[in-house]
């Protein structure tokens, strides 16, 4: 956009933005600053909190191995889900980008559908498949492979499965956007210069699709690491993730100062992943899937 396209600076843009800016300030920025302060307060035995500057919550959060283990477990589950999404998502993205048939529009539309199909429905749908009276057990019993239903659900594996099912469309869409933007002539040029199909893919297509791969991975990792619904529905008692801790502390134990400290840990850990990413790739890539 050239300079002549826009009006001279004045009060008008600020007036237009003021309601949204006020909303973001009052509902996000100030509340996050507030919990930063709140995390130094103390919960007293009677339930109200004691205003002051106490390090107790932070000492507990940063030194108790219980919290550290769950944090590592959370990062491990999110990383495993992201890697699986890459493995499962690249080929379909490639197929959609390269297909020239009229199926392409349908495939893209189908790819958008899971965003709309309720997250909680998609998560709980696995109970119908893997549960004790789910499709898989009924089928195996009928085949005679097993004599009584297997307990497949409620472990780390099914949490990862649920996350992959939830996150895969984000990954495919981001890789697809990247692949679709590649100039086809580049691959042709590589081929005419003697590359085999695989070489052309490895030397031209794959490197050019890395921005989408990175954006997809960031989304999958951050969304995966911040969830508490999937472990609650598909995980066992030992598969809690960090957000489950936050939920428990705030909603069940009502220890709000401690819950604030835990939330901030999650914010700092995931925030630094986003920062690291935006330093290398820029946040703009993420907005591309909206075009």
């Amino acid at each position: 956009m050239s300079a002549s396209d826009v009006d001279a600076p004045g009060a008008r843009p600020w007036i237009l933005m003021s309601p949204a800016l006020a909303a973001v300030a009052m509902l996000l920025v100030i509340p996050v600053c507030f919990i930063a302060v709140y995390s130094f307060w103390l919960r007293t035995a009677v339930g109200s909190e004691q205003v002051g500057f106490y390090l107790d919550n932070w000492i507990e959060v940063l030194t108790d191995p219980f919290y550290r283990d769950i944090l590592f477990q959370t990062l491990r589950i999110a990383a495993a889900s992201t890697l699986l999404c890459i493995t499962l998502g690249y080929v379909p993205a490639y197929f959609i980008a390269r297909s020239t048939t009229r199926h392409k529009a349908v495939l893209i539309l189908l790819l958008m559908l899971p965003f709309w199909i309720s997250y909680i429905i998609r998560t709980m749908s696995w109970i119908n498949i893997l549960g004790v009276s789910g499709a898989l057990n009924v089928f195996l019993l009928w085949l005679g492979v097993i004599s009584e239903p297997m307990q497949i659900l409620y472990n780390e594996g099914t949490v990862i499965l649920g996350l992959v099912h939830f996150l895969l469309p984000f990954m495919i869409l981001n890789i697809y956007v990247s692949l679709d933007g590649i100039d086809g002539n580049l691959v042709d040029a590589a081929r005419s210069l003697g590359c085999t199909g695989w070489q052309a893919f490895r030397e031209v297509t794959l490197p050019l699709s890395l921005p989408g791969l990175a954006a997809g991975s960031l989304l999958c990792f951050v969304l995966g690491a911040g969830t508490y619904i999937t472990p609650m529905i598909l995980g066992g008692p030992r598969d809690a993730m960090f957000a489950n801790l936050v939920f428990e502390t705030i909603i069940t134990q009502l220890d709000w100062p401690l819950g604030s400290a835990l939330s901030l840990v999650l914010l700092v850990v995931l925030g630094s992943v986003v920062m690291l990413y935006s330093r290398f790739a820029g946040i703009g890539q993420l907005a591309k899937s909206f075009r």
Binding site: V24, F34, L88, W126, A243, F290
Partner: protein, 268 residues
């Protein structure tokens, strides 16, 4: 050359893999919809014929009907507020030049960069400190803040593509800024505004992460109702509710997309 043969076989492998992945994405949901019509009283396999009884039970279940009404009301209000704020902001960000634009843009998409749990905790505790307890307005504020970035991104993308000339023509013919917006800009960006409404509604209708923190006791939306029902065990009613949910969250956007397409085509 043997390459041609290889390309054909590897392409069919790629296609087969893609089909498998699509099955993985959709089969479980298809099973939910299928089981919703199950006549079997435990709602599990094997199917014992088709029946609509679970939908009838849904209809007669006051708690579920109430949750549905709450979700629709919340989604509609969220969409209205979020889209209004989002359109105004996009206008400012695309049509004007001012200092700190980069920072403002980042600030506007910040609600989706911050993990939803953290956003939920911060908003809940801050408003509680301001002595505003869990309530429907809190739920609405929360939904507005995390749908706003999506509306801004969508409307901004469209606005960038609308040429400034039309607006300048209107202005030079004597229309004031508000008239220009109403008569020229708004009709041109209508498809994106509409998409924003649909997006905000659907995200709000589907949300469970923030809603579980913000909802007052006794108030349920459809997803939190399902979540509460899952606590007991999976029942055929959940599958029926799931089927309804799938229809709402899929049919609304699909309808929206086709209307938006028609609008965009009419503008050409």
């Amino acid at each position: 050359m043997s390459g041609g043969q290889n390309i054909v076989t590897s392409w069919s492998l790629i296609r087969a893999f893609t089909i498998l992945i699509y099955l993985f994405m959709f089969l479980p949901v298809a099973v939910v919809v299928l089981l919703a019509f199950n006549a079997n009283q435990f709602g599990s396999f094997p199917m014992e014929g088709l029946s609509l009884r679970w939908f009838v039970e849904l209809w007669n279940n006051d708690a579920i009907v109430r949750a549905f009404k709450t979700s629709v009301l919340l989604g509609s209000l969220t969409a209205a507020v979020s889209t209004t704020l989002g359109v105004l902001t996009s206008l400012a960000l695309v049509r004007y030049d001012f200092r700190g634009k980069g920072l403002i843009t980042t600030l506007m998409i910040a609600p989706i960069l911050v993990p939803e749990v953290v956003l939920a905790v911060a908003l809940l505790l801050f408003l509680r400190w301001l002595e505003m307890p869990k309530s429907f307005p809190l739920l609405l504020l929360g939904h507005v803040i995390f749908t706003l970035p999506f509306v801004v991104l969508i409307v901004q993308a469209r606005l960038v593509a609308v040429r400034r000339d039309y607006e300048e023509a209107a202005l030079s013919l004597g229309a004031n800024a508000f008239h220009t917006f109403r008569e020229v800009t708004l009709p041109l960006i209508m498809p994106a505004v509409f998409a924003g409404v649909i997006f905000a509604f659907t995200i709000s209708f589907d949300d469970v992460t923030g809603t579980l923190f913000w909802k007052p006791g006794g108030v349920e939306t459809v997803p939190t109702q399902i979540f509460a029902m899952l606590r007991n065990s999976i029942s055929p009613e959940i599958n029926a509710l799931g089927a309804v949910m799938v229809v709402v969250t899929v049919a609304v956007p699909l309808l929206g997309v086709s209307i938006a397409r028609r609008m965009a085509a009419a503008l050409r």
